[in-house]
Symmetry: C2
Subunit: 186 residues, 2 copies
């Protein structure tokens, strides 16, 4: 079973949800570290049901709109807790097209490289600002309750990652600005 399984099991461990609600969670709360489209979620819920890890009850909204509300079975809860306690080996560094581009940018005029670096910096700053706005809900205090603390920690991780990215890009810009404007042709 892939990680998506445990992302869904984890969300259902908090409360029972429909496929549509899971999709919304992937778009909002989990967005910084996992995502899934509905075309992946619905078949996965079918598999999990067949595997006996979740079960659903059908609700009706209005007169005809059906929806399936999923909840963990005891087996599902056990599978989730087993995963939750596991130590995972770090995956290889994720692919990064911008770093690939920067690596090959030695044959570009410094001014063109600066364009790329500044564009990247703007994008990372925008994401950082967005994350910092999210952080305001904590009112500058570290939560004491365990679940709220975990929310806080993953958000802090995203913020620190973006801060590091911005600091790196600023350094790249400074070093490129210092260059003599004579690019080396390959």
């Amino acid at each position: 079973m892939g990680t998506l399984t445990y992302a869904i099991l984890g969300l259902l461990s908090q409360q029972s949800r429909t496929g549509y609600e899971l999709k919304k969670e992937f778009e909002s709360t989990l967005n910084e570290f996992w995502s899934a489209k509905h075309s992946q979620i619905y078949p996965e819920l079918s598999r999990l049901t067949e595997a006996g890890l979740v079960e659903y009850t059908t609700e009706i909204t209005g007169t005809a709109l059906e929806r399936k509300r999923y909840a963990l079975t005891p087996a599902g809860k056990a599978a989730f807790y087993a995963w939750l306690e596991q130590r995972h080996k770090m995956p290889p560094t994720p692919k990064d097209e911008f770093r690939l581009q920067l690596f090959f940018s030695g044959c570009l005029e410094p001014a063109r490289r600066l364009d790329l670096l500044r564009d990247q910096l703007h994008q990372h700053r925008a994401r950082l600002e967005h994350l910092q706005k999210n952080q305001e809900k904590f009112h500058g205090a570290v939560p004491e309750e365990a679940n709220a603390l975990c929310d806080y920690l993953v958000l802090l991780g995203a913020i620190m990652r973006e801060e590091a990215a911005c600091a790196w890009l600023e350094r790249c810009i400074a070093l490129t600005e210092d260059m003599q404007p004579n690019p080396s042709e390959p």
Copy 2:
């Protein structure tokens, strides 16, 4: 055409190479920001040849061992330069199983969460040390030549990313150690 195309085109823009040599580059130099297995490289080289972006000459080692040495065509060089100057939109944050696990770890005893955090910290510290060893070849000085500077910048990026990851994990550990040992059951 996907990013792999331009990774290969970029490597061939530096010098002509065989599929096997490309594979070795992905395992070493490019490892921090891109990778590809030989099972992906060889078919891609066939496609690029058919598309007229690369061409090859067959060499023979010993008496029978054939190998194809690939080089950029003018069209390939043009395609590479076009990609190199393009501004790319930031991709969504990459998936991260550890952060997913941490997010759901509110129902774990703090001592168990500490285990996971410390394990992760050790792994990131090991990677950081490895990167810092790589950095020694620059003898503490920022290179002036453009291609060497780009090498330096991507390595610096990897180092700063790992430093940020370690700092974050240390903060997570400190905050978890401060907790009262009463986990909230979901």
